[in-house]
């Protein structure tokens, strides 16, 4: 993400923001159009295709069975990965995930994990021996800013619509399916700071111009379940309070969109 945006362009975006405006006409606390489609890949136990402005992400869920981690012997395991494939942007490179992709995957994972949206206890088959492994793979097809929110919505939607095969007495998957035990909808909400303003759902250009970034994930009880300040720059305590406030409101809007998509 090292493309150079001339300083003059950054200053333009900041001056707009200081007037409460954005280049694409949105309000500072307004998301771009969000399109959520569930069950788009029939080989996956659950899937979603999310478009947020020009950003497009597939999420796919596969469920397997295996050993639990030694320190959580009766918990199922959720593993979240993100690939920023060369298709999605001219500066994304093939190869193992870089720190950008690792951060996206870990922040999305943390929001879902900490909200306990996925009931991992219900994914235990036999304590200490066998639990269900839930792989959430995020495949970013088009990168137009705000990956974390697009990926977070895609992952949550894919999980919420997943049907996992029931195991038989020999621990082999059967034809019978059960929904994954999803009991909450955790969603991230990301802001960038431009000058003195916080802008929700940054576009690609706003991301390039950013001074600093913060993500606040909330659950349906309006609890904050994950936060992540990213990139260079800092926030005052008041700015963080403001971000949490907006994230709680926006989270509800996004959850409504997910519920609409999966019903």
């Amino acid at each position: 993400m090292s493309e150079i945006l001339p300083l003059i362009r950054k200053e333009y975006l900041i001056s707009l923001a200081n007037e409460g405006k954005r280049e694409d006409g949105r309000a500072l606390d307004e998301y771009r159009s969000l399109d959520i489609r569930a069950n788009v890949v029939d080989k996956a136990e659950g899937s979603a295709l999310v478009s947020l402005g020009g950003t497009m992400v597939f999420a796919g869920v596969k469920v397997d069975a295996g050993e639990p981690y030694p320190d959580t012997p009766d918990d199922g395991v959720m593993i979240t990965g993100a690939e920023l494939i060369p298709m999605a942007a001219p500066d994304f490179e093939a190869g193992p995930p870089g720190e950008e992709a690792v951060e996206v995957a870990r922040v999305v994972d943390r929001g879902i994990r900490e909200s306990k949206a996925l009931d991992t206890k219900a994914l235990c088959v036999r304590e200490n021996e066998l639990v269900r492994l839930v792989f959430v793979d995020l495949h970013v097809m088009d990168y137009d800013g705000n990956l974390i929110d697009a990926c977070g919505v895609a992952a949550m939607t894919a999980l919420a619509t997943s049907q996992m095969p029931v195991l038989d007495e020999n621990d082999k998957p059967t034809e019978e399916k059960l929904p994954l035990p999803v009991r909450d909808l955790a969603v991230p909400c990301t802001f960038v700071k431009l000058g003195n303003s916080l802008l929700v759902d940054p576009s690609l250009d706003e991301e390039r111009a950013l001074d600093s970034r913060i993500t606040v994930a909330t659950d349906q009880e309006h609890h904050v379940c994950a936060m992540q300040k990213s990139n260079i720059g800092g926030f005052s305590l008041d700015e963080i309070k403001h971000a949490v406030r907006i994230a709680t409101v926006k989270g509800e809007e996004i959850r409504a969109a997910i519920r609409e998509a999966i019903k």
Binding site: G54, M56, V61, D64, P86, A94, F135, D137
Partner: protein, 230 residues
């Protein structure tokens, strides 16, 4: 012979091609071919990195074929495996003869195919989509490159094997052609075929390619309405 999905021996699966579906890529294409769902993207011509791969007299091509972890029955580890590396290589061999690489010396054209749902025939669908994405990117070409497989199932040479046919069939042969030059630029085969069956299968696959070719043109016409492509 009755095919699993009721098709005639020389009938393609339903194909939907859409050009220009991605924002960032210079050219792109989405294809649904039977139950395959595949995206193709093209970036370039652009600067060559690393520099020592640069060619003085032409653009180089880089072809990446990749499957999403959730695109197949068993979860695939992320990133290209050996099969994907080989497909990337033959895709390049299929496409490069159609591209006027000498127009862009010291540059690079990056091609990506991402399979999000796989169901037999992904390399043909991928080549078909890339070719449309190249046109969408405005890369000058001698022609489009349509691709299509033929194969042998229950002793019959048939067109465009579905997954179940491929699993049980005696042979599968993906083919790509440059229609204007009447050249075969992709040809692979695995299975068992007698000598004359090879000929028969290649010929049938070439007919399939011709049908795919029309769909490619239609997709580009639809995107660039009013502009004549041929």
């Amino acid at each position: 012979m009755e095919r699993v999905d009721g098709r005639r021996f020389d009938e393609l699966r339903p194909i939907k091609i859409e050009a220009g579906v991605l924002k960032r890529a210079d050219g792109s294409c989405y294809i649904e071919w039977g139950r395959n769902k595949i995206y193709a993207a093209v970036y370039g011509p652009k600067k060559v990195l690393p520099r020592h791969l640069e060619k003085d007299d032409r653009a180089i091509l880089r072809c990446r074929y990749n499957m999403a972890p959730f695109s197949v029955e068993e979860r695939k580890r992320p990133g290209p495996d050996r099969r994907a590396v080989e497909i990337g290589k033959v895709m390049q061999g299929a496409l490069e003869p159609a591209i006027l690489v000498h127009y862009y010396p010291k540059s690079m054209i990056e091609i990506s195919v991402e399979v999000v749902q796989a169901n037999a025939g992904t390399r043909c669908a991928g080549i078909t989509a890339v070719s449309v994405a190249l046109a969408d990117a405005g890369i000058p070409m001698r022609d489009l490159v349509p691709a299509c497989a033929a194969g042998k199932v229950d002793g019959q040479i048939i067109l465009d094997l579905a997954k179940e046919e491929d699993n049980l069939g005696e042979a599968d042969m993906p083919v790509a052609i440059i229609p204007r030059l009447n050249q075969i630029t992709l040809l692979q085969m695995d299975g068992k075929l007698a000598e004359q069956e090879v000929e028969q299968a290649v010929a049938l696959a070439m007919q399939g390619c011709q049908q795919v070719y029309q769909m490619q043109i239609d997709a580009l016409r639809k995107k660039y309405a009013g502009a004549e492509y041929e």
